[in-house]
């Protein structure tokens, strides 16, 4: 005689300590094994795409900050590149170098959040998280020197950036460049030498390259399955073809490789920052307002520009009808599309793996819901 058992459905609600924002999942369990997942989101939908139709092109930059609030410089960069392509503006060199420095520092900060909160979700009560946050604090202080805000910095404008960097910024940056490799080594040693982290993340939620490409997944997840696709190398924008860096690739496609890849990418971003500091020359940071007016009116047409955001391909589609505000603005958000395979990755794993896998995809609710 066998015991009758039935599956149980739990609602991991929008308020939860480790869902990285307001995200809801209805999970069906058979014992501790997951047999079905239904993600429900939209709790943070603010209608950015509709709001942009009533604001000028420069005001939309503030809307882009608030989408993926952990990597706002990267959002700014993508949008400004779309505006520049649409209106055929030639950017100032010093502005472009400053853009690249800010974007790569922001990529480091975003990966620090991802890796730090992984270990927090695994249960180490915050010790590695505080190490990661200590480094991120230095980056946010540098951003405050650049543009006055730590997180939602609307720093970039069509043709360059908003203001030049003060002298204190360059001193802070050089001391950061000296100290950061030690911190990256510490974090990497933590991930590669801890038995508990190995056993909980290796071999869990494996993806194949064909599955990932068919589901339009890009970014660190695609690179962890073994496909060497990075938009900074394959479709260069700004001055990324003038700097020299590698892209780390792993072949396993499981949770562990996604995390280790992000730690290794931080090192490469630091290399880019160092080279930008060497190449930068004095000059104006944005074109004079006789060439590029403050109230831009791009000619009629549309364009799509995609950059390599910290979570994948971040694309901006702009349609303009010749007036001061965009006719239609669409964001191809990497976090929303990376969630496509959540159900396939989670079915068959145990409950203890749910939040570790979810953190490995590294989504940000501001970008999923816009």
């Amino acid at each position: 005689m066998s015991i009758k058992s039935e599956p149980i459905t739990i609602n991991l609600g929008p308020q939860h300590p480790s869902t990285h924002g307001v995200f809801r999942m209805r999970v069906t369990f058979d014992g501790e094994t997951i047999i079905d997942v239904e993600p429900i989101f939209g709790y943070l939908h603010r209608g950015s795409e509709k709001l942009a139709e009533e604001r000028t092109y420069t005001q939309v930059v503030t809307l882009t900050d608030r989408m993926d609030y952990v990597s706002s410089m990267l959002n700014n960069q993508g949008y400004i590149l779309a505006v520049e392509k649409l209106s055929d503006i030639k950017p100032e060199p010093r502005g472009v170098w400053l853009r690249m420095i800010a974007s790569e520092l922001q990529r480091i900060a975003s990966h620090l959040v991802a890796v730090g909160f992984l270990i927090q979700d695994l249960g180490a009560w915050g010790t590695p998280l505080t190490y990661a946050m200590r480094e991120r604090e230095k980056i946010l202080q540098m951003f405050e020197m650049l543009c006055g805000a730590r997180i939602t910095n609307s720093y970039m404008r069509p043709g360059g950036v908003f203001m030049d960097a003060p002298q204190q910024f360059w001193e802070n940056l050089s001391s950061f460049i000296d100290e950061f490799p030690g911190a990256v080594d510490e974090l990497e040693k933590l991930l590669t030498s801890n038995e508990i982290i190995f056993s909980r993340t290796k071999g869990v939620a494996v993806l194949t390259p064909e599955q990932a490409i068919n589901a339009s997944i890009t970014g660190p997840i695609l690179r962890s399955t073994g496909v060497p696709w990075d938009l900074r190398k394959n479709d260069p924008y700004d001055y990324y073809d003038k700097v020299d860096f590698d892209i780390p690739i792993h072949n396993a496609g499981d949770n562990y490789s996604r995390y280790l890849l992000r730690v290794q990418e931080m090192r490469e971003s630091l290399k880019i920052v160092k080279q930008c500091v060497d190449f930068i020359e004095p000059g104006p940071v944005r074109p004079h307002h006789d060439e590029v007016p403050f109230l831009i009116r791009p000619p009629k047409g549309d364009c799509y520009v995609a950059i390599e955001g910290s979570k994948g391909e971040l694309g901006f589609y702009l349609v303009s009808d010749g007036s001061i505000s965009p006719y239609r603005w669409h964001v191809r958000s990497s976090s929303l599309i990376n969630l496509t395979l959540l159900r396939e990755m989670l079915i068959g794993t145990l409950f203890g793996d749910l939040f570790v896998t979810f953190g490995g995809i590294d989504i940000n609710m501001g970008e999923v819901d816009r």
Binding site: I8, I10, H16, P17, S18, E32, I119, Q120, D121, L122, G123, A124, W125, G126, T127, T130, Y131, R134, T192, N194, E195, I196, I197, F198, S199, R200, K202, T208, P209, E210, I213, T225, G226, V227, P228, W229, P248, I249, H250, N251, A252, Y256, S257, L260, L350, F351, G352, D353, L354, F355
Partner: protein, 400 residues
């Protein structure tokens, strides 16, 4: 009038137990109450100190100051916590089973204090001396599983039941290694009483029975639901698990019970393995405190550094790792006890050497067996997906 009452009470006590005067009962009762009062207050004071100590120490491990606001160096933080918890609203969910809901925290706290009744605080300074006190301690710690199930079931909350079932599975699996690890000590001392074990420890048993000490330590960490086995209240997964629906002083009792259980586990470990109140010059209670604080420091250090296990890994460790180590320990110790019988001088040293040479290598062997295999990162470009292997048609036609 009083004569009359006295005679009735005397007569009725004589019906129950003969030959013991009625006054002795009152005296025994009074002394018992005073001793219990002293012990429980001592433990509660220890709990308050531990709450402050743990938060402060965790802060220092994380490179920040811990609480330092209330009182000098923040000592009064736990008092502030207790006052806050007492004034919170006590909510009972509508579908909850009221009686079991109210009783569950008590079931957690009371057995923990009972353990302290058999621990000797100095030579001949104890509350009760039973001749099977080691078994008594093991039996009493199992009641905490009942309290967790009561709390989860009475809350009528699915997530609470999840975490409670995990905890009970863990508790049952770790009872066996913990119990069996004490068999080695009992064979050496030929008595089950904690008092005898303390008297016998000229050399602390952690040096003589290393395998038993490791197994006992890990097992008690699992029984008190501490990191790395704290998956019942894995805050990042279940948001406090079985304690989800408790608020106010009932939740305060759960909180207190957890810390008191940590102190109890540390005390039992120091008594059985570190020699308890033995030590030169100073009174025994000072040495016991030092050892308990050292073990607690170790427990908090582990909490600050290690992530937690998954439930199937925890059960694997218990059944495949620790259980076999205890069997190895029993075999080696029983052979050693027969060879060097009681009465020989330096008996403990020989038994200790036998254990280190024959039993300790098994620890290394088992942990190597349970490890996950090494990660090989090839870091080459993938051969499975052909990026850039073709050219677009319009370029091919231009070349033609």
């Amino acid at each position: 009038m009083f004569e009359f009452i006295y005679n009735i009470l005397d007569f009725s006590f004589d019906l129950v137990i003969k030959d013991i005067k009625f006054e002795n009962y009152i005296l025994t009762g009074l002394t018992g109450v005073i001793i219990a009062f002293a012990v429980i207050n001592g433990v509660l004071g220890g709990v308050l100190a531990l709450i402050w100590g743990e938060r402060r120490l965790l802060g220092r491990f994380q490179q920040r100051t811990g609480p330092n606001r209330w009182g000098p160096q923040g000592i009064l933080t736990s008092t502030a916590d207790a006052v806050k918890v007492m004034f919170k609203e006590d909510i009972v969910p509508e579908e909850a089973d009221r009686y079991i809901f109210n009783v569950a925290p008590l079931l957690l706290v009371i057995p923990v204090f009972i353990i302290f009744s058999v621990i000797p605080f100095g030579i001949s300074l104890y509350a009760v001396d039973i001749n099977v006190s080691a078994l008594f301690i093991l039996a009493i710690t199992s009641i905490s599983g009942l309290s967790i199930i009561c709390a989860a079931w009475a809350s009528a909350n699915r997530i609470a039941i999840f975490s409670a079932l995990r905890s009970v599975a863990m508790l049952i699996s770790y009872e066996i290694p913990v119990g069996l690890s004490l068999v080695g000590i009992l064979l050496i001392c030929e008595s089950m009483s904690v008092m005898d074990i303390v008297i016998y420890q000229k050399i602390p048993f952690i040096f003589i029975q290393p395998v038993a000490a490791i197994v006992f330590f890990l097992g008690s960490l699992a029984e008190i639901n501490r990191t790395p086995f704290d998956l019942t209240e894995a805050e990042s997964e279940l948001a406090a698990g079985y304690q989800n629906d408790y608020s106010g002083m009932k939740w305060g009792l759960f909180y207190l019970g957890e810390f008191a259980a940590a102190i109890a586990a540390a005390t039992v470990f120091s008594t059985l393995f570190l020699g308890g109140p033995n030590g030169p010059f100073l009174p025994g209670i000072f040495w016991l405190t030092v050892k308990v604080v050292a073990v607690l420091f170790f427990i908090i250090w582990i909490r600050a550094s290690w992530p937690r296990f998954r439930i199937d890994q925890v059960l694997n460790l218990a059944w495949k790792g620790l259980f076999e180590l205890t069997l190895v320990n029993i075999i080696v110790t029983s052979i050693a006890v027969i060879i060097w019988t009681d009465g020989e001088s330096n008996r403990l040293i020989y038994i200790g050497l036998a254990n280190w040479v024959f039993a300790f290598p098994f620890v290394i062997l088992i942990f190597k067996m349970l490890k996950t295999s090494n990660y090989k990162n090839t870091n080459k470009e993938s051969m499975t997906y052909p990026i850039g292997s073709d050219t677009p048609k319009f370029i091919k036609e231009k070349i033609k």
